[in-house]
């Protein structure tokens, strides 16, 4: 492309962008103008008004739909991998096989290092939780629009940006830790687990707070048209991609740590081996 053609290309692109910008500013969303920022933020936290319909149970928070959509995506992906990729695994792994082995290996090692005595179920759980938090948080970036029960539309949020989703994750993790305590130490294990009764609350609200902060900042950025350009790229990276990694790591690490603690058998150390 010579200099003249390049200049013409840049000028045409600039004109199109300018026309689009004018159009964007002139055609504002009348619904958004009616909805003040405090309502938008409150709804992002509580989902009191923007509900979506769900089969059998009726109207639910959009995060429930997000959760099942994420599960469906993971199911399709897993099924495809199970049917077409895993049978072709070789001793010398390719890039994709290496990725899968790394994903399984990282969580398996996390379980083994934190709970050397009992780690099979813990490995599966932290793998699931890690995948769910990571993929669920990144799912928010897709911005899948669904109709709400009040006639509007809403972009599906991350499943754990909803208080009910975060509580279920925290409670499930706590139940897994409790099961480890029961399996490893019977009644003593239960007592050990109950001693940390604040764990499900801290786990739930840590997740909720972290993911909600990202959702709120994103809402705020998109609420004002002037901040809707370029800035969302950095916001998405900071609050979605980093949170996806950090929260997946934090929750799985905490669960593995507490699981290992409650299921560890007490007794004297013989020949350097823990009983």
């Amino acid at each position: 492309m010579d200099k003249k053609k390049r200049t013409r290309f840049i000028v045409i692109c600039s004109c199109i962008l300018a026309v689009l910008l004018v159009g964007i500013f002139l055609t504002g969303d009348p619904a958004k103008e009616e909805e003040p920022i405090n309502i938008v933020m409150k709804d992002a936290v509580l989902h009191e008004t923007a509900k979506v319909s769900f089969p059998i149970v009726g109207s639910v928070n959009p995060a429930v739909v997000s959760a099942y959509t994420v599960t469906a995506i993971i199911l399709v992906f897993s099924l495809t991998v199970r049917l077409f990729v895993i049978p072709k695994f070789t001793d010398t792994p390719g890039k994709f096989q290496l990725l899968l082995e790394q994903a399984v290996g990282i969580f398996d090692d996390l379980a083994k290092s934190n709970s050397p005595q009992r780690n099979k179920f813990l490995g599966v759980y932290v793998f699931t939780a890690g995948a769910y938090i990571f993929i669920g948080t990144l799912f928010e970036l897709l911005g899948v629009m669904v109709p709400t029960t009040n006639g509007g539309s809403i972009a599906l949020p991350a499943p754990l940006a909803d208080i009910n989703g975060a509580i279920s994750m925290g409670v499930f993790s706590y139940l897994v830790i409790l099961s480890g305590g029961v399996a490893g130490n019977r009644f003593k294990g239960v007592l050990h687990t109950l001693k940390d009764f604040s764990l499900p609350i801290s786990m739930s609200f840590r997740l909720f707070g972290a993911l909600l902060s990202g959702a709120l900042v994103t809402e705020l950025v998109y609420y004002y048209i002037t901040t809707s350009f370029i800035i969302p790229v950095f916001v998405a990276v900071m609050f979605t991609m980093l949170h996806a990694l950090i929260q997946a790591y934090v929750l799985t690490m905490l669960t593995a740590l507490f699981y290992g603690e409650v299921c560890m058998k007490e007794g004297p150390i013989e020949d350097g081996k823990i009983p």
Partner: protein
């Protein structure tokens, strides 16, 4: 409930999580984990086989070295015994040769002495014969003592006696 906490939705999320756990365990985690375990087991087995083979090879090497050192020792022993036998043979041959040589020398000496004695005896006989013949001639010619002597010396000077000696000898 405060914060829009809804037990039904929590249960829905929990149901979803259990479903996801089952799916991921059955379709992804277990097959990949089993494959990795199987491969690790296979590598462990290969490692064990390699170590066993190495240990066998080292054992064979030790046996071989032992055999080599035994063969070398045997070789050295054989060489020493052969060398000792050769030395003894050499000494025997030399002593035999010395013995033979001294025998030959003795025989030669004896022969030489006998020859010497024979020649002396013969010379003595011849001298005696010449002396006898000369005396006889002198007596036969019976001249003066001076003539006799002259004729004797004359005959000697002419070489008659020597010729006679040579013919006799």
């Amino acid at each position: 409930m405060p914060l829009n906490i809804d037990i039904q939705q929590i249960l829905l999320h929990l149901f979803n999580l259990v479903l996801l756990l089952s799916i991921l365990y059955l379709l992804l985690y277990k097959p990949v984990h089993d494959f990795m375990d199987k491969r690790a087991e296979e590598y462990k087995e290969r490692d064990k086989r390699t170590k066993d083979a190495l240990s066998d090879a080292e054992k064979l090497k030790a046996e071989y070295e032992e055999k080599v050192s035994a063969a070398e020792a045997e070789n050295a022993r054989t060489r020493a015994s052969i060398s000792a036998a050769a030395e003894s043979d050499r000494e025997k041959i030399i002593s035999d040769a010395h013995e033979k040589a001294s025998k030959i020398i003795d025989e030669a000496r004896d022969k030489a002495v006998a020859e010497h004695d024979r020649l002396i005896a013969r010379a003595q006989t011849e001298i005696a014969e010449y002396v006898s013949k000369a005396a006889e001639k002198i007596v036969m010619d019976s001249g003066t003592l001076e003539d006799d002597f002259d004729s004797f010396f004359e005959s000697v000077g002419k070489g008659d006696i020597a010729k006679k000696g040579q013919n006799n000898g």
